[in-house]
Symmetry: C2
DNA sequence: GCCGATTTGTCCGTATGTATC
DNA sequence: CGATACATACGGACAAATCGG
């Protein structure tokens, strides 16, 4: 699959920023210069720069230039922030990820579950409980609900590895969109047990609830991820919208 | 200040989606149609649609069209998610916001504070502690650190109202960028006291630490916002990056 | 399975506006 | 004021995906 031009430019600039080819607070080469170095149109370099802005790597200043505001993250911790699976995220950070399936079952959505998960009443669902370990430490307790119709043939064996790999590689599904809500909730006995926590210490969890859509516009997944509070970090970059 | 064309198109489409002019899961008019209705170029409508995608309002599907995937948020709670002040956010949700200043002081950054806040050592700083009330309920305890050099003339009176209004209206500063990290931390006695909580109930807080940059590329603010866990909600929409 | 029409994705070139220096 | 830089907008070309006949 040949990559798009703007994407190679984006990656090249990103890599140069990360490796200090451009210093912090320094201005990047101007658009006109970039047009020449990459032999492409202005729109294409602007598109690459736009992604660096949303990544929080640079800021553009009309009349001046594009300033590098990237600073590497010092504390190494488990990071979430984009659409990527636990396995992907762990591999990216050079850690060893293991998932253990606690429960693998199916059911039909009733009225109460419909309002809670967002699935239509009567839909057939796979329900999976999993614990995700990072370097032998239990970090996340996941409650996954997959729409059976959209994710046929899901098994416990697949859940042990990576559901998303199955979705993308085998079912050729494209994940597009994920609406997430983050809250803080009381720790339950289940949390305590499987994450090996003690509620007399922290008695809360960081909870991320997400509704995920595929390219058919189907909301095929609802997941509640319950994170150990002491290892939880969520990075975000907010930009004044001028995209 | 005359608005940009793509922005008026964006707002018009957004409003039409919110008011059910386009039904959930329905396809919006094609780009060619939108070009005619708004009498503009293709790039301009594409730019408007791009923002709707990042907002999680629609998803684009090559060869098919643009699908409405907007569903209104049912639970009414305090929402954070973009760069906006507490006052703005409250007003947007139709609530009454009040801020109370607990502490207003100045100091010079020492080595330890430098690594914690990200300000350079020796910088002069305003340090403000505030409690934000929403409809008479204390929700957020804020620790604000403002770079004195970039925010001259800040007073306790301004902090009682809205610092951001002062920055934008009086100092004509433009806020561009805010890098945020969300964590869950133990509740302190200060939290307990000023947010009228009881640590025997929830003993944790949702904490958002943010580094905010202005259009001069200066990191002029470091803030730690400590949120009551029972009223905390953070909305986010993650998109497979093809912007 | 193929073909053509439709629709979004990528890319180019150009012109004009606006902010900075 | 002029030169430089990014912001907005236009128009056109071709690629890639979808869908109906």
């Amino acid at each position: 699959m040949p990559k798009a031009i703007y994407e190679t430019i984006y990656k090249d600039l990103k890599q140069k920023i990360e490796t200090d080819v451009f210093a912090y607070q320094e201005l990047l080469p101007s658009e006109n210069t970039l047009i020449q170095t990459y032999s492409c149109s202005r729109n294409t370099v602007r598109r690459a720069v736009r992604r660096l802005v949303t990544d929080g790597y640079v800021q553009t200043i009309q009349g001046k230039g594009v300033r590098n505001i990237y600073q590497p993250i010092t504390q190494t911790a488990f990071t979430i922030g984009e659409i990527e699976s636990f396995q992907e995220s762990a591999a990216r950070n050079g850690h060893n990820a293991v998932s253990k399936v606690l429960l693998f079952t199916e059911f039909t959505v009733n009225e109460k579950q419909a309002s809670c998960t967002g699935f239509p009443q009567g839909a057939d669902i796979y329900y999976i409980q999993r614990v995700h370990y990072l370097d032998d430490m239990p970090l996340i307790l996941n409650h996954n609900y997959f729409l059976k119709e959209a994710v046929p043939g899901l098994t416990k064996e697949i859940a042990e590895k990576s559901v998303y790999e199955y979705l993308e590689q085998t079912l050729h599904m494209t994940i597009v969109n994920s609406k997430r809500i983050m809250t803080v909730e009381k720790m339950t006995q289940i949390d305590e047990k499987y994450l090996e926590m003690n509620a007399s210490d922290y008695n809360c969890m960081a909870v991320i609830s997400s509704h995920t859509y595929n390219s058919d516009g189907v909301m095929f997944e609802y997941t509640q991820s319950r994170h150990r509070p002491d290892y939880f970090r969520f990075y975000d970059n907010a930009v004044r919208k001028t995209l």
